[in-house]
Each structure stands twice: as structure tokens, then as C-alpha cells.
Amino acid sequence: MTVSDETIRAEGLYKYFSGKNQKQPIKACEDVNLSIKRGKTLGLVGESGCGKTTVGRLLLRLIEPDSGTVLFQGIDLTLLKQREIRPFRKHFQMIFQESSSAFNPRMKVYDSLKESIKLYTQLRPKEIKEYINLLISRVNLSRGVLDNFVGNLSGGEVKRLDIARTLSIEPAFVIADEPLALLDMSIQSQIANLLLDIQQEKSISLLFISHDLRIVEMLSHWVCVMYSGRFVEYGRISVIRERSLHPYTRYLWNPMELGVSDRLPEGGCIYKPSCYLYQKRGFPLICSESQPLLIEQEKDHFVACHFVK
């Protein structure tokens, strides 16, 4: 694996949030390592509040990591200042969960799209108009939306606009932060297919964040499963589909059969209280003593559990 083959690589990212009233800082994510190759999709699965979105923002440096490095095509982004990072923002973009709030509600759609295009290209106004029309037709929208305010459009339309805005500056790496979560059932599949098409067409590296393992499975080449701020399983999708080893991943595959409790762990493995393996094996000591590390069990398959052989 050469450096140029990788679009983005994160090593040992840690982030804690400290509130004013909390004595202890809140753990957002711990020991996050990932890498995405050119044109590939990495799916990030987990419950809400487990730090998925934080990982996405850390990769874009919208928030500062406490420690760790983010390499974008070999350039260490964490060493750059915010001002120096701005030229690189052309290359990585984000599609937001609530697209309707990611557009300025007092701006017409056309102006919102124009803003970013104007920043990175030297097109004349007429050319910009043509370019925007092209983008709009690429995401299957009619030109009528351009004269509207965002509040007057439906959820699916705004999501398409968000994708169009992302496409407009032709990034190499895109983070899609739960893009399907707030949409209607019949619209979800439209958007998912659109994302897949565009990703293959422009060979974009995609980080697809979702809480639905099934949709992630459809769209991505690699999957990592996150629980309470840590990666518990990470691997190629074909491998995970056949042999998911961590109890949490197995739970996500069929949530009706295996129960999960609400209790928080006091120490040791983060998944201990809800783990069915822990109960099955008769509450072994090792689980309450140490947090298992992400270890490569077989080729392209990493699992963080004491009992996986």
C-alpha cells in the first residue's frame, strides 16, 4: 500500500470534550485509526452518541483533536494552522445530516451554490450559471429549485442540493454524515443510489456514517463498527458479512435476538455490560480488567475482543 494510494489516514485520534459543569471530561472518541483508499467507501456504524460524527469532524479538522494525526494524501493536517488548511478544503467535503440547516435560510439556493464555485474557480458569471445547471441536472433536480429559499424545498430536494454543492468543487474525499436518516422511505433509496453512482463516477473516497448496518453494507467496501467512542470491529465488508466476530456487531446483525442493557461499564471492556459472550463465559475477570485492543485476527479484519481466536 503506497502513500499515494491512500486518500486519508487517521492515526491514534483522541478527543475529549470538557463541559463547564462536568468534573470529568466527556469521552468522544479514543484511539481511532482508519484509512480510506482512493475511490473506496468506508462505512462507520454505531449508535447515536457513540462519536461517529466527532470522528467525521476531526478528519475535516472542523474541531481540533486532543492528540493524533490526520494524513490527507500524505500531508499532516494536524500540523497546519486553520488559515493554512483553507486551500485544502477544496479536496474534502461533508454532506450533513440535516441538509436543510446546512444552507443559509435567507439565501437563495443559486447564491449558496455560487459561493463555493466562485471561491475555487475563475469562471465568468455566464459559465457559472451553465455549470450550476449541469450540477442540478446531475442530481436529478429541476432548475426551478434555484430561485427558491431552502425552507420551501422538501427534504429530498435539499439533500440533493447538498450533494450538488459538494460535487461542485470536485473533492477527493467526502464525508456523508447520516445522509439518509431524516428522509422518507421512498426517498432514501433514491439518495443512496445517487450517492453510489456519483462516488463511482468521480472515484471519490467516501466515509459513510450511519446507524443502519444494512445500508452501510450496501454502499461500502470497508466497515468499521464503533461503540462508545472506540472501534470494536474493522474490516473488509466481505469478511465482516461472512464472519462478524465482535458480539456487538453480531448484535447489530440481528438486534431482535440478543439483548443489550443500558448500564454503563465501570472499567475494563466498554461493551462488557451488554455482552452476551461475557455472560456465556461466566463473567471472566479479564473483561473487567483491561480494554481489548484492535488486533488483526485475519487478513483485513480487526477485532477488539478478548475471546476472539
Binding site: 454505531g46 421512498s186 433509496s189 450496501m218 443489550v260
Partner: protein, 384 residues
């Protein structure tokens, strides 16, 4: 299985003062719930599923419009007498107010704004129907039918600790209870909805709870009266996969324990399929298909409404995923409820409306055709 509730010909229209015209929310809604079963209602946002639920509770007021229909319900043995009296008092001469054990709660309910055809000015909108309806509903609402509203964190009072909110509901139902007894009762209720540390949660304010926790508390409040029917309006929306299934499990257990029926509203057909016995699919204010789970979801072949077919196939199956197929797509957009509907509302997105049948679709909205017993479809494809 005996019937618990039957809704017939529910029609709800709202009057839009800005555009000076009526907007269709529900048209000719008809479904029935058997005792101890789950009815799932599926539909996209704005298709009228919430309005149908609210009108069953008698909670639609305020705005002028049209509301009509019949709602037969079998109350608890305890409340039977009072409900019967209330229904009889308000009964209209031209209608029978009972059907066996069931009483028509919408008896006498015909709220109709009188209006000109053009330019649609309101002439008369009396408040009398509302009082009449409330007189009946006060024996039913909260005691026989409970409801869980869409956003749990917004249906709790943010300034009152959770425990006190539950206590108040208990007090409202039975007046003479001692304080110690109340507290233990609250704790028991919370334990029933799988909150393991009720003493701590009781003193918490709603904004300190996570969404899953808040949903449980709301369910606990709804269960206080041991209702016959629980209406759950999108209880799993906004929750993640883990919590979703835990809430569903919890609802199922509560149903078994209290011999309760459930009206489960959701936009996710996968979730509805995992809990419901009967399913009603709604689209743009009408029920396009009603039938058992077997008929609608599990049966691969057989008559189905095009919309249901598309919805079911848009959920990826294991076989699809292994082959690496793309998701199947329903073309077109969700209809805006401001659009005027002529003919079949699904026509613009329907792949089957070609050739001869298309004219029929455009002209008139199909009635519900019963293809097999207990399975009705509103589509011209299945016209007898």
C-alpha cells in the same frame, strides 16, 4: 378474535386561510383493530397518519375544517356504563350508536364548516360539536385509549421532574392514594419499562434523559391507566437501531401483560413488519392497502398495491446485498398535501399506470376492492 375498535369513513379536511381552500388530510379512512393485536400504519411524512390518530383521540380542534366519520370502540368493563350514557346522550337520530359491544364514539360528531363553493368563505363553524365530542371522549381518553406522541422529549414538561409527572397521572386516575404508596407505584412502573434505577430517574428533569429514556418514560405514563388501546405515533423515529428494537420489545411485553392492543404508526415498513399483525398502508390521505402482515409483507407473490410493492422492495434483503444489487427506487417525490388530488394520488409515480388503465386512474380515485377476505386494495388493477 373479537373486535376492539373500528374506524369507518374518517374524513378530515383543514381549511387553509392563506390559500382560501380546503386541504385534504384524511379521506375515507377505514380500518379495524382486533383485541390483543397490533395494527401498523405505514406512510410517508404528511400522508395523514398522525391526523388519523389524533382524530381517534378527539384531539383535533382549533382550526376550522371538516371532520366526519364513525369510530366504534369497546371500552373497559369499568367504564362501559358511563361511556354508554355519554354516547346515548349525544346520539343522532339517524344513526345507531352501538354495534354489539362497540360504541360509536364519534356519534353526533359531524363537524362541517359550511362554505361557499367560490370564493370559499366560511359561513358557519359552531363549537357545539366539540363540546359534544369532548363529553364522550373524557370517559375514553387516557383511560381506555392512551397515546405516545411523536417526539418524546417534547411531550414531557421540561420544568417538572419525571417522577412527579407520572405521579400526577396516577393521582388523576385514582384520587385517594398515600404518598409512600405513590412513589413505589411510580418506581414499579419505571421498572416495567426497563429503567433499572428508577429512584435516580424519578428525580431527573426531562432534558437530562436520553431520547430512548424519555421514550420509556412517556410509555410509562401511557401505561398508567392500563389502557385497552395504545396509539404509538412514530415511537422509534430518531432512535438508533439498538434502542428501536428495545422499545418495540418493551411495547410487545406490555401488550401481553395488560391484554392491550396497539396502533403502531411509523414510516419505516421494516419496523412495522417486525411488530404488526395487520398493516394499513397510507398514501396522500387515503389507505391504499389494508391486510394482514402475511398478505402485505411476507407473501412474495399475489395482489399488492404498486406503492406497497415498491416500499417492500426498497428494503434490502440479504440476497440482494450478497449480489451487490442496487437499492430499488420509487421514482418521483412525496406528494405535497397542498396539491389538489384528482384521480389516484399515486398515479405520477405508478409504473403500472400505462395504456388503457391510465385514463381510469386519472379520472377517478379507486375504491377499496377486496381481493381476498380481509385484504383490500385501492387500485384499478384489482377492480372486480
Amino acid at each position: 378474535m373479537p373486535m376492539l375498535a373500528e374506524l369507518e369513513g374518517l374524513k378530515v379536511y383543514f381549511y387553509d386561510q392563506g390559500d382560501k381552500r380546503f386541504i385534504r388530510a384524511c379521506e375515507d379512512i377505514k380500518f379495524s383493530i382486533k383485541e390483543g393485536t397490533v395494527l401498523g400504519v405505514v406512510g410517508e411524512s404528511g400522508c395523514g397518519k398522525t391526523v388519523a390518530a389524533l382524530s381517534m383521540m378527539g384531539l383535533i380542534d382549533g382550526e376550522p375544517g371538516v371532520i366526519e366519520g364513525r369510530f366504534f370502540f369497546k371500552p373497559k368493563q369499568k367504564d362501559r356504563r358511563s361511556v354508554m350514557l355519554a354516547v346515548m346522550r349525544g346520539s343522532r337520530k339517524d344513526r345507531d350508536f352501538r354495534r354489539g359491544e362497540l360504541f360509536d364514539l364519534f356519534n353526533g360528531l359531524k363537524r362541517c364548516v359550511e362554505y361557499d363553493q367560490y370564493p370559499y368563505t366560511i359561513i358557519k363553524d359552531s363549537e357545539r360539536w366539540l363540546r359534544k365530542n369532548n363529553r364522550i371522549m373524557e370517559h375514553v381518553r387516557g383511560k381506555n385509549i392512551s397515546m405516545i406522541f411523536q417526539d418524546p422529549s417534547r411531550s414531557l414538561n421540561p420544568f417538572v421532574p419525571v417522577g412527579i409527572q407520572i405521579e400526577k397521572t396516577i393521582k388523576w386516575l385514582s384520587k385517594n392514594e398515600k404518598k409512600g404508596q405513590l412513589e413505589s407505584e411510580v418506581a414499579e412502573l419505571l421498572r416495567e419499562v426497563r429503567i433499572f434505577n428508577p429512584k435516580v430517574v424519578m428525580n431527573m428533569y426531562p432534558d437530562a434523559l436520553s431520547l430512548g429514556m424519555a421514550q420509556r418514560v412517556v410509555i410509562a405514563i401511557a401505561l398508567v391507566s392500563r389502557p385497552k388501546l395504545l396509539i404509538a405515533d412514530e415511537p422509534t423515529t430518531g432512535l438508533d437501531t439498538t434502542n428501536k428494537y428495545r422499545i418495540i420489545e418493551l411495547l410487545q411485553q406490555a401488550m401481553e401483560k395488560h391484554d392491550m392492543s396497539l396502533l403502531f404508526i411509523s414510516h419505516n415498513i421494516g419496523i412495522v413488519g417486525s411488530i404488526a399483525d395487520d398493516i394499513a398502508v397510507m398514501y396522500a390521505g387515503i389507505i391504499v392497502e389494508f391486510g394482514s402482515k402475511q398478505q402485505i409483507i411476507i407473501a412474495k407473490r399475489g395482489p399488492k398495491h404498486p406503492y406497497t410493492e415498491a416500499l417492500v422492495s426498497s428494503v434490502p434483503t440479504d440476497a440482494d446485498i450478497k449480489k451487490g444489487k442496487k437499492l430499488k427506487v420509487i421514482q418521483g417525490i412525496v406528494p405535497n398535501n397542498k396539491m389538489e388530488v384528482v384521480g389516484c394520488p399515486f398515479l405520477p409515480r405508478c409504473p403500472y399506470a400505462v395504456g388503457k388503465i391510465r385514463r381510469k386512474c386519472r379520472e377517478r380515485c379507486p375504491e377499496a376492492f377486496e381481493v381476498t377476505p380481509g385484504h383490500s386494495i385501492r387500485c384499478w388493477l384489482y377492480a372486480n
